[in-house]
């Protein structure tokens, strides 16, 4: 029989969870209806935030659950962007179809890449992925048809093919960003609740224990690496559709697509679905507040990431959870 205080805690936890679900529903409805209430500039900001959310979910899945700390995911942002530009400009594939195709193409590249990168472990893997991303950046700069080192703009006609009016184009783009972010969250959630998720959480908690229980660690890591590459490239293709211009430096930027994304995940809470969401909100709030500070903002961001590691490396959501706060996205199995 449960004690009285236990029941009180359960009740408190239930109220908190309901409140959380309420907040999530409000957030969902607000984002789903954003084109109705947000101005053009706000909409662009939201698109960017949603893109970062998707990137953060992918990195979180990779690092938080399989322990593959990559600082080279910009490889797939860049490949997604470049494959998208190439498909849209040099083939008859419609623009909106070119985005998922670009993601699949990047996934194909991820297969041999994983084979090479997995020869390195731990911290060596981290730097190795970065070298590989640099290789892709230098190769991308070697294609004159794609603008070489100075980059290229997406032809206006292609952008116009999405919708007839400027506001129509923006509407389509916004819902693409919304769809990509939502898919990233839901796919991670569904994955974690499946048999695979059980293997992933087991690997996260202890690799030797997971292996001894029959989890094929190498295969799981390989699948997750390739899967997150596809998700990252999908987001990358969208990001450069929105930017309308791609250069090797922007496409394969380690600061933008690795440092910021990693900070978002870690500050929010690694190994949780809620963490990247909190991290993205915080990141964009800070950026908005400190827009005029330039380099000082980046210095502060670096300091914040260090502070999280020193104070509570579980991040904001991890610290909440440790104090008995309920999850929004339940992935654990509990025995009653």
């Amino acid at each position: 029989m449960k004690s009285l205080s236990q029941t009180a805690m359960d009740r408190q936890s239930k109220v908190q969870r309901l409140a959380l679900i309420g907040v999530a529903i409000i957030g969902f409805v607000a984002l789903a209806s954003a084109p109705l209430w947000a101005g053009r500039a706000d909409l662009r900001l939201l698109m960017e935030a949603l893109s970062f959310l998707a990137l953060a979910q992918m990195w979180n899945l990779l690092a938080g659950y399989t322990g593959l700390i990559s600082v080279g995911q910009q490889a797939y942002v860049g490949l997604g962007g470049y494959f998208f530009f190439a498909l849209a400009m040099f083939t008859a594939v419609p623009v909106l179809l070119a985005i998922p195709l670009a993601a699949l193409a990047a996934g194909l590249v991820a297969i041999p890449t994983a084979w090479i990168a997995f020869r390195l472990q731990g911290a060596y893997f981290a730097i190795g992925t970065w070298v590989i991303a640099e290789v892709f950046r230098l190769i991308a700069a070697q294609f004159p048809a794609l603008g070489g080192g100075s980059g290229i703009s997406l032809p206006v006609a292609l952008v116009r093919s999405i919708a007839s009016s400027r506001s129509g184009i923006e509407l389509v783009m916004y819902y693409m960003a919304f769809f990509i972010a939502l898919t990233s969250i839901l796919s991670v959630w569904v994955l974690l609740r499946s048999r695979w998720g059980l293997a992933l959480t087991a690997i996260r908690d202890s690799e030797p224990a997971a292996a001894s229980l029959g989890v094929n660690i190498r295969r799981v890591k390989f699948m997750v690496y390739v899967g997150t590459a596809v998700g990252t490239a999908l987001t990358g293709a969208f990001i450069f559709l929105q930017k309308l211009r791609i250069t090797p430096e922007a496409a394969f930027s380690v600061t933008e697509w690795s440092a910021f994304v990693i900070f978002i995940v870690v500050i929010g809470g690694l190994g949780t679905i809620e963490g990247p969401i909190i991290g993205v909100i915080l990141f964009f709030l800070l950026r908005d507040l400190a827009a005029d500070l330039g380099t000082w903002y980046l210095i502060g961001l670096g300091a914040l990431a260090i502070a999280v590691m020193l104070i509570d490396r579980r991040g904001i959501w991890g610290a909440f959870k440790a104090r008995g706060f309920p999850n929004l996205f339940v992935t654990q199995r509990t025995l009653n």
Binding site: G122, E134, L301, G302, A305
Partner: protein, 288 residues
């Protein structure tokens, strides 16, 4: 003859890369810890020399000595105050903390020195060269740097395998949990290792400052060169690291000879080729 020149230049460049790599390899060897900000520390040393020579007007040799002392002290304190607190089985905290440091250093340098490219003048030393014939000329400065790099690596080898400190560092590397039982203090040993690595970084950074132009953003690519030299040479082998640096340097100069745009790419591809053929590096000593 042209190609001999290319290869000689590559070997000389490789000495500098080996120096970049030695500090990284030392910290990883003792603490199983990769410093993402390693390249940025090299750039900091370069800027420190710039301040010593250009602002304070010190002779370069004195400046280099000051930078070595300063960097070692900062390395020791930084390890004790910050890095020791995030070292454990989990590799993410040190990766993240040094990633944060990297961003902080790059942007602070940008704030302090602007994005302009800088160079520390080294007088006629910089342009003097030993001419063998029409096609082969070896610059005195690159040659001196190469010899200094070999010297520094020799000193590291000596410290590691011939002194009490080296024995302590190797023992800590083998089993950091047993060593405190023998009366050593891991925090102190780690900080000593970082101080030693920082001294090497200081030498590497000051050489970089005299050899080429530098700006606040070049750190990350120096980290990658250092890392590649370590992996090509094989982990745990300090002379292997020198060989790794040389292979990387030669690959880069050969790439540059074919097309200026291929220099860095050729180095990366050489690294990936070694990784595919011999994942443990060409001269690996350590197992696992």
């Amino acid at each position: 003859m042209e190609w001999i020149n290319v290869i000689v230049q590559g070997i000389l460049l490789g000495g500098l890369y080996a120096l970049f790599a030695a500090g990284l390899s030392l910290m990883f060897g003792v603490m199983r810890f990769i410093n993402i900000a390693h390249g940025d520390f090299i750039v900091v040393a370069a800027y420190l020399l710039l301040v010593m020579v250009m602002t304070l007007g010190l002779p370069p040799v004195v400046g280099i000595g000051m930078v070595v002392i300063l960097m070692s002290a900062v390395g020791y304190l930084g390890q004790r105050i910050l890095l020791n607190r995030v070292l454990d089985e989990d590799i993410l905290p040190p990766v993240l903390v040094t990633f944060g440091l990297s961003i902080i250093i790059q942007n602070s340098l940008l704030e302090a020195f602007s994005a302009d490219s800088q160079r520390v003048p080294s007088g006629n030393f910089a342009t003097a060269s030993l001419t063998f014939n029409d096609e082969l000329a070896i610059g005195v400065l690159p040659l001196a740097m190469f010899l200094a790099a070999v010297g520094v690596i020799g000193v590291l080898q000596f410290i590691f395998f011939r002194t009490a400190l080296g024995r302590l560092l190797r023992a800590t590397s083998d089993d950091p949990e047993i060593i405190p039982l023998m009366g050593a203090n891991n925090s102190h040993v780690f900080a000593i290792a970082t101080a030693l690595a920082s001294a090497v970084v200081a030498v590497a950074g000051t050489m970089l400052a005299m050899k080429t132009n530098f700006d606040p953003t070049i750190g990350p690519s120096r980290l990658l060169f250092a890392f590649e030299a370590v992996i090509i040479g094989g982990m745990g082998n300090i002379w292997g690291t020198l060989a790794g640096g040389i292979i990387l340097g030669v690959a880069q100069t050969i790439g540059a000879q074919i097309d200026a745009g291929y220099q860095i790419l050729a180095g990366h591809l050489a690294f990936l080729a070694v990784l595919i053929v011999r994942p443990m590096g060409l001269f690996a000593k350590a197992k696992g």
